[in-house]
Amino acid sequence: MLQQLVVSFVATAGFGIIFSVPSRLLVACGFVGMVGWGIYLTMTLLGVTGIPSNLIAAFGVAVLSQLFARRYRAPVTVFSAAGIVPLVPGGQSFDAMRLFVQNDYNLAIQYAAKAFLLAGAIAMGLILSEVVYEMIRKRGPM
């Protein structure tokens, strides 16, 4: 688990460099990715299936990104863009492609649908956090 966390931290920070994140924010960026991956792993270890885990992990990433965005006065995307990358369903898409090439269309469609739903779950997680943030902000000043 610790190994996974360290690795996800480095991977996300690496993405930060590719995306040209300012160097003072790289650590925060890596941290966001690490938390997202940590949530995802914990959920899967607890036996939750892929889609809810992805949703909640993406939610966590987005909430943390928003907190960091306020703290460091930087756009939210700086943190969330690299943060969600570990969650992207690379494995499922790959399996789908492989099965398409092997002419096993039935199974390929299954994998493709799963990859699509996982990506949708990530999107939903991001949306949810935005909605929650909006609600808190509208309520806050009053």
Binding site: V7, A11, I18, P22, P75, T77, F94, M97
Partner: protein, 270 residues
């Protein structure tokens, strides 16, 4: 004498007014320039649509003008209500450079707070536009390589494949980087990069260095995955920028297809 003086005075006033008008017009065009430059810098470096629109309108508001802006991933339409001109900027090339977005954001915030003048804002923005990527190319390749190696471990690969993923990921990223420079056809670069990754992996497997081909390939194409586009598309859609959101979503989908196609092509070779 008196008559001459008075006419002279009137004449001077006339010139003064005219100069005021001229400088006023200049200030307005400069305001347009600053707004458009800020928008262009942000859009070209992958900011979300509503952020671009918001920044431009805010800069105009800080100067006491009402403005309308319409931004899509490929262009900006901007007009200030008190002026007759509407200007259009066509954006052909887009990269991801969050550092530039952050800087442009800071500049516009400083301007809106009244900390810097219009001219300073313009100069700073043009400087941001001129500067290159904040990290050198080699460092980008190295970090893509390291990220690929890390992804291998995250996808339950074995440590003995770490170096393979490192090499494949680095080369794949470098290939896509160079092809992006040479060709305008966007998805070819990703396709060729994925193809290269696949071929190197097959080579490694044939030599006997690789252990799990599928894990190496997945991990190595991760630096090419359009994660940023997906996030940005979702945020655009939520903000109600339906045109930008859907087009960015399609772009992400096509990029994913290009990567998948490249990998699939090498799988067909096996």
């Amino acid at each position: 004498m008196q008559g001459e003086e008075s006419t002279g005075g009137a004449f001077d006033d006339g010139i003064g007014e005219a100069q005021d008008k001229v400088s006023g017009a200049c200030a307005e065009t400069r305001l347009l320039d600053v707004c458009l430059l800020a928008g262009k810098v942000m859009l070209q470096n992958g900011a979300e649509t509503f952020r671009v629109e918001d920044t431009m309108v805010r800069i105009a508001q800080a100067s006491g003008e009402k403005a309308q802006s319409f931004v899509t991933p490929t262009g900006i339409i901007f007009s200030v209500e008190s002026m007759d001109t509407t200007r259009v900027i066509r954006v052909r090339e887009r990269r991801i450079d969050l550092g530039k977005i952050t800087r442009a954001n800071d500049i516009s915030r400083n301007f809106c707070n009244g900390q810097i003048s219009l001219q300073t804002a313009y100069n700073q923005l043009s400087e941001v536009e001129r500067t290159g990527h904040s990290y050198p190319f080699v460092l980008q390749v190295v970090s893509a390589a390291v990220a690929s190696g890390c992804f291998l471990i995250m996808f339950k690969g074995v440590w003995s494949d770490f170096l393979n993923a490192l090499v494949c990921g680095g080369i794949g990223f470098a290939v896509s980087f160079f092809l992006h420079r040479f060709t305008r056809v966007k998805f070819i670069a990703e396709f060729c990069a994925a193809l290269t990754v696949g071929l190197i992996t097959i080579l490694l497997m044939k030599i006997g260095l690789g252990h799990m081909a599928d894990k190496i390939e997945i991990a190595s194409v991760m630096p090419l995955v359009p994660g940023m586009l997906i996030a940005s598309a979702v945020r655009d859609l939520m903000a109600g920028d339906l045109v930008s959101g859907t087009t960015k979503g399609i772009e992400a989908l096509l990029t994913a297809f290009a990567i998948g196609g490249g990998i699939a092509a090498t799988l067909a070779l096996l």
